[in-house]
């Protein structure tokens, strides 16, 4: 083919000048060549330019859509979490209040109880002491009475020894007893 190009180019004389509109066999051949050219160009453009760019754009669209969806989901999740935490914090607040209240109440109760018990114990001690004192007093009075009787008996014996009659002796004892009673 190259050789034929060269030979004809050199022997340019036999080459027609050109054509504008010749409806001949040459037109059909040129048409076929141009059809091949256009098909080739279309194929190359479609496979090198159109489809990759389209695919790229489709992928990007998909990715961005997915990202937006994920972001929305994350946001919804975060909102839910926030709400949950807020609720939990509110719960904790009330719980704290309750615990404090319960502890206060318990402490109050306990202190009341303790106070009551202490008071009762004090009362007991007081009562017991009073009773003890009473018995002590009684004991002492008895003792004193006995000693007095002993002393009186001794004195009486002495008086008797000093020969006093029985009547005087009795009267004296009675007087002494009365005196003692009075005191």
């Amino acid at each position: 083919m190259f050789q034929s190009v060269c030979t004809v180019a050199l022997a340019g004389a036999e080459l027609p000048l050109g054509s504008i509109l010749n409806l001949d066999k040459q037109l059909l051949i040129q048409m076929a060549i141009q059809a091949l050219n256009v098909l080739l160009l279309t194929g190359v453009l479609a496979f090198l330019l159109y489809k990759p760019v389209k695919q790229f754009m489709a992928q990007r669209r998909e990715r961005i859509a997915a990202e937006i969806e994920a972001a929305q989901k994350d946001r919804a999740e975060a909102l839910e979490l926030k709400e949950q935490y807020e609720r939990m914090i509110a719960d904790i607040e009330t719980e704290r209040e309750e615990i404090l209240h319960a502890a206060y109440k318990k402490a109050m109760e306990r202190s009341d109880q303790m106070l009551f018990a202490a008071r009762r114990e004090a009362e007991n001690i007081y009562n017991r002491t009073l009773a003890e004192l009473e018995t002590e007093k009684e004991n002492m009075a008895d003792e004193m009475k006995r000693q007095m009787i002993e002393i009186a008996t001794l004195m009486a014996e002495r008086f008797v020894q000093l020969s006093i009659d029985r009547e005087t002796q009795d009267r004296l004892i009675a007087e002494a007893l009365a005196e003692w009673e009075e005191s």
Binding site: T42, L49, P52
Partner: protein, 228 residues
Amino acid sequence: MDFSNRYHAVLFHLGDTPVYLTDTLIATWIVMGILILLAAAVRVRLHRFQDVPGAFQNLMEIAVETMENFTKTTMGPGNEAFAPYFFGVFAFILFSNYSGLFGLRQPTADLATTGALAIMTFVLIHFRGIRKKKWGYVKEYFSPHPIMFPINFVGEISKPISLAFRLFGNMLGGVIIMSLVYGMLPLALRVILPDILHAYFDIFAGSLQAFIFTILSMTFIAEKSAVE
């Protein structure tokens, strides 16, 4: 004042017919090279594409997304597979039309290019129609009444012809007028004055014709494959 599609050499012989290397072929291969380089640049840089796009990436994304939405709104659901094909066709026609700005003869100002594009659309229309509708495809030619068959048939045939000649005629008209103007002007004036014509014929008409070729192809295909 030469606005013909010049022959530069003979590529090869098919039977006894020589196949010429034309202006159209050279311009086509330049446009293809630029577009393939662009595609390769995208492919190589794709792994460096980021979520926040830069200028180049942004441009590519806008192009792809616009084509995707455009296909969806024009052809309806179920025809998204055509988006890459029409992306390539639209890019090729647009860059071909703009190549006039750089002194090339637009490949679309040659019936071979537009005819090839139109025939590809024609094949897609009927291939898709037969695959989608099966028996209903044949019935459609006799649809209101069997008498209408010739009109329907000619209507189908005229679709690719009108597609091809619309693009070809618009671009060739631009080429002829531009070359006439260039032939008229002295060398010193060739810089400024034709700019306005370039802006109209290459940029405005070029974008519009690329758009119209694409949208008409889409409409034809979608219309033929729509199942009632």
